[in-house]
């Protein structure tokens, strides 16, 4: 892949972060950590790998992104706004009474949102259903599923992993946002989930472990889908919770938290400086 594409995808990710912080503003609780950690993953999906027509988002042949870790839906809202599905200024209405942008995904209120998620563990099963329908109807679209690493503690994820591989749904692709933290602390302390790759492999999946902030590695892993595969693919993306804002990084404290006005300004400034450096 050429370096220009990679540079653009990286920049997209940081633009997503900037808009995330702006949409969150200050004084309101938001899921900072997990929203910031998956910016590159969504950048690579929406602006590189997925096939869709942003002007016709209900086209049955489109690739779909199922956000199983529904609490990171702000990142998806920003990506969809960048695609023109929402005016940028609407992003600030998130979580307000009457807003189309609910705290967790709502298929009936929000254009571009594919799956009803929020209560964790249900996205991969949903994606399997979409893929089974595609099999019956002769559609070959891809269904990408973004899972949180804490979410892997939900038993249903593994029921679904069995189903994907049992039915040979190789057009389903899982991405695990491995940011190491969940709501109350470090995952390894609370309820260990390693070895993640070995678990997926035991359930009949191929795996790839990538740096989840390196768009080149992410795209290379996703490009494996273009080869002939007999197994579905799970991409385990090592990420940093709260990536991009120094005081939000690598802590569970900002899983769902509100910033002071001062913290908010600092966060925006850090991301702006990062974006400026990219333009140099």
């Amino acid at each position: 892949m050429d370096s220009d594409t990679l540079r653009k995808l990286t920049k997209r990710a940081w633009e997503i972060r900037l808009q995330l912080i702006r949409m969150f503003a200050h004084g309101k609780a938001h899921h900072f950590g997990g929203s910031l950690s998956c910016a590159e993953l969504l950048s690579c999906l929406y602006f590189y790998k997925m096939n869709y027509n942003a002007k016709c988002f209900d086209d049955p042949s489109r690739d779909r992104l199922v956000l199983s870790k529904g609490h990171s839906v702000p990142t998806q809202y920003v990506a969809l706004a960048l695609l023109g599905l929402y005016p940028m200024e609407e992003l600030r209405t998130i979580k307000r009474l009457g807003s189309r942008l609910q705290g967790h995904p709502d298929i009936n209120k929000s254009p571009g949102i594919e799956a009803p998620t929020g209560s964790l563990g249900q996205g991969l099963s949903y994606a399997n259903g979409v893929a089974l329908a595609g099999q019956l109807d002769g559609r070959s679209c891809r269904i990408f599923v973004l899972l949180g690493d804490g979410e892997l503690q939900e038993g249903q994820v593994w029921e679904a992993a069995m189903t994907t591989s049992h039915y040979g749904l190789t057009n389903v692709c899982v991405l695990v946002d491995r940011n190491e933290y969940q709501s109350q602390g470090a995952i390894d302390d609370l309820m260990g989930i390693e070895p993640i790759d070995k678990k997926w492999e035991a359930f009949g999946w191929n795996t790839a472990i990538v740096d989840g902030h390196d768009v080149g590695e992410i795209c290379a892993a996703l490009d494996r889908l273009d080869r002939k595969n007999t197994r579905p693919l799970a991409v385990i993306a090592r990420t940093v919770k709260g990536k991009g804002v120094s005081f939000l990084e690598n802590t569970y404290k900002y899983h769902n938290y509100s910033l002071t006005e001062e913290e908010y300004a600092r966060a925006e400034n850090e991301i702006l400086r990062k974006l400026e450096a990219m333009d140099d």
Binding site: N108, P116, S125, Y126, G129, V130, M162, T163, H166
Partner: protein, 320 residues
């Protein structure tokens, strides 16, 4: 002599599922290793590709069903009532009820007449749980023929449904000429002293009870509330002005089922001086156990004799 049909509502369900699947390629069925018991497996006679065995994983089944439904399939998701509603309640809440997806939840072997398997497998709270969720239509067909009508009706509407099915064998006791319409209760028998309001196959016991009461000089009307949500509120109100005594009969806990639904309407929409004496017959906040269907119905006062006895008690002013 023509042999009388005796079957469970699950049997009518299986026949109708096959009919709708033959007519409409969008119809699919999922099951969790109970397809031959729930009768969902019959869809394979139309097209084996449209039956999805999900293994013993009810949560995965429901979310998968939702994915299929969102892609335009008409999805019938099957298991025993106790498992589909209990094991997958959160998936139903978030992805079926809240998201308003076109999934027909088919809970089989409902009630204590599930029988010998005992309390773990007997669903006596499923109607309570499903009634509590917005957007879900709750349907309990009374006999095999009505199950066929119910399947066609829920197939023709778009949106979530809970279809409560039973293995209890009954005749086709609902008159064939009574029209079936979702949300509209049926009068199975006219009467004037007491209204017996039932749902599901246990209505056959209710009808037998009404015949016995007739001999004792008590004229009992029998109503079939095959749709528990939305409830036929107008009929409940009319019943209250027509009868001094109303008794609900259901093979379900007295908490949260038909009796509760009737009480809600009576308390809220019927003036105090016009409210009839009201009793609920059902499972009284306890669990079932192993036994035959007949034994269990008797034990919980749900057989014809038990229903007659409750009516007698109420009419003579004794405590139920």
């Amino acid at each position: 002599m023509i042999e009388e049909i005796r079957e469970g509502t699950r049997d009518g369900y299986g026949r109708a599922l096959l009919e709708v699947a033959r007519q409409d390629k969008r119809v699919v069925a999922l099951d969790c290793d109970l397809g031959r018991s729930t009768r969902s497996f019959r869809i394979t006679e139309a097209d084996p590709q449209r039956f999805f065995e999900m293994g013993i994983a009810e949560q995965d089944m429901i979310s998968t069903a939702v994915g299929l439904a969102r892609e335009g399939k008409v999805v019938f998701a099957n298991s025993f009532a106790v498992f589909i509603v209990g094991r997958a309640f959160d998936q139903i809440r978030q992805q079926v009820s809240l998201a308003r997806t076109n999934v027909k939840l088919c809970g089989s072997s409902a009630g204590i007449t599930q029988g010998p398997d005992g309390a773990t497998h007997q669903s006596i709270m499923d109607v309570n749980l499903m009634r509590g969720l917005p957007n879900i239509v709750v349907v309990v067909p009374a006999d095999g023929r009505q199950a066929v009508e119910a399947v066609w009706a829920v197939y023709q509407m778009s949106g979530p449904v809970y279809l409560r099915l039973s293995r209890l064998q009954t005749t086709h006791f609902v008159p064939e000429d009574l029209p079936f319409k979702l949300g509209k209760a049926q009068v199975l028998r006219e009467g004037k002293h007491v209204a017996l309001v039932g749902t599901g196959p246990v209505l056959q016991e209710v009808l037998t009870a009404a015949e016995r009461l007739e001999i004792e000089g008590v004229s009992a009307a029998v109503y079939n509330f095959h749709t528990l949500k939305p409830l036929d509120v107008e009929l409940v109100k009319r019943m209250c002005s027509g009868f001094p005594v109303v008794i609900s009969v259901e093979e379900h806990s007295v908490i949260g089922g038909l009796g509760t639904a009737l009480a809600e309407v009576m308390m809220e929409s019927v003036a105090a001086e016009r409210r009839p004496v009201f009793r609920r017959i059902g499972i009284r906040d306890t669990y079932g156990e192993s036994g035959t269907a007949e034994e269990l119905l008797r034990k919980h006062g749900l057989d014809a004799e038990g229903i007659v006895e409750t009516v007698r008690q109420v009419l003579t002013g004794r405590q139920a």
